[in-house]
Symmetry: C2
Subunit: 267 residues, 2 copies
């Protein structure tokens, strides 16, 4: 059981920032990553479509004999984590709960900002999770559709990124948030630019980091932590996108070899 | 035959700018529009994936008994217009040939710029078509991935649009282009901003307009122009995206009612 891999799934390559945090915290674990690059982005899609795609991804990972799955995609977590846990037997973690919890416990003035794709923001999933912990926390949320292509262009630290961040985040700063959830896997790469706009008094919460910590606890609780050294990583995508190598390198800070393409609609 | 509709297909909603030009030039025609919104964008996808999606879209339009099809998507035109015309009997037009021809005949210094999505630029389809007309024309091409989300945010006339256009278009201006092909259906909405960056001496070529003129000629040549007044329009998508109404309104300058959702992978 302990040698069975962890499955990590995202609609595209953003989930590699989550993979990176898991590798750091659980360096012994074998991991299978699947990026649904043929159907990215999930953000603007309907709940039914996202659920269908997510279940196909989970079916694929289960065919790889995984012992746990992290849905490293805010949209998919927001739309169907609950349904996924009802349908499957292995532990399935999303990226929202841990981020929401960290924000709820770190805010002092009880005003929290949440940014993400349209799908994540529309789902109100962070609001719901934060509300479960403390219903008095006020949440200012905002979708930021330009952030993903800015990161993918490698423009995270340009004037365009700053102006875009200023335009998106002005209302959150005006509302005096003291914690900001980076509710999209691409956003940690914009941490510096976002930090400059919101100021250093605002704590930036990276759900990827918090989720990796949660995963470790789940594996410990189930006594399935791998003992051997240095995990092995496998990468699967549903299509090889043009900038795969450069984007993957930037997200993971590590070269990726032997990426396999699969026909995900068969799962 | 004459009452049979024209089919217009795009990976998303950008093709509505092409639909708009067809409505202007051929106001009597019935039209069926299909936007593959569940699988947009095609730009970063492989040729095989784009071809599979395009053939499914054509099969759907043929099930609606269309007399001609316009592939109002630069990526799909670039990757598989030739294959589509080999496979099907009705006339299928793309958006590239007409735009390339207009640029080739309008340039005086024989230096032409072409901008589009990654897929379109990588395909070199405009270069190929322009080269067929005049092999001495030098082409400076550039992919501009931020332009689509900027248009969809309604930011076409902001400082962010200007800075992004400046960054993308600097090398084209430096190379002294005198014609610029707006090789993506979203880009006509950025015409003013792009015009300010490249200067008024550079002619902006809108392939949508040129394609609508070509379509009229094809229908005339086949004697299948519709005689009755005021065409009827039908809209189909593979998923209803969040901002459908606002984006469609901005692109078409007209309200869209009764959009039907279809399962495109069945075709």
């Amino acid at each position: 059981m302990n040698d069975r891999p962890i499955g990590v799934f995202d609609s595209g390559l953003g989930g590699l920032t989550v993979l990176k945090e898991i590798m750091k915290i659980l360096p012994n674990e074998n991991i299978v990553y699947f990026g649904d690059t043929a159907r990215v982005p999930y953000g603007p899609r309907s709940k039914e479509t996202v659920m269908k795609y997510t279940f196909q991804a989970i079916n694929f990972l289960i065919s790889k004999n995984v012992k746990a799955i992290v849905i490293a995609c805010n949209t998919a977590t927001a739309r169907c984590l609950k349904e996924a846990n009802e349908k499957y037997d292995i532990p399935i973690l999303g990226v929202i709960e841990a981020g929401a919890r960290t924000a709820a416990y770190s805010t002092k003035n009880k005003i929290v900002g949440v940014i993400g794709t349209e799908g994540t923001i529309r789902s109100k999933a962070y609001n719901l999770e934060i509300g479960k912990i403390d219903k008095d926390i006020r949440i200012i949320d905002k979708s930021c559709p330009l952030f993903v292509p800015i990161v993918e262009e490698g423009w995270a630290n340009t004037d365009i990124a700053s102006l875009t961040a200023k335009r998106y985040l002005k209302e959150l700063v005006d509302e005096n948030i003291d914690s900001l959830v980076l509710g999209c896997t691409h956003y940690p790469l914009l941490k510096r630019t976002i930090g400059q706009i919101v100021g250093e008094k605002v704590k930036l919460v990276n759900p990827a980091k918090e989720t990796a910590k949660d995963l470790k606890k789940v594996l410990e609780a189930n006594s399935v932590l791998r003992k051997d050294n240095s995990g092995v990583y496998e990468y699967y995508v549903s299509d090889i996108p043009e900038k795969f190598a450069s984007i993957a390198g930037e997200f993971l800070k590590k070269e990726i070899k032997d990426i396999k393409t699969i026909e995900i609609q068969k799962y």
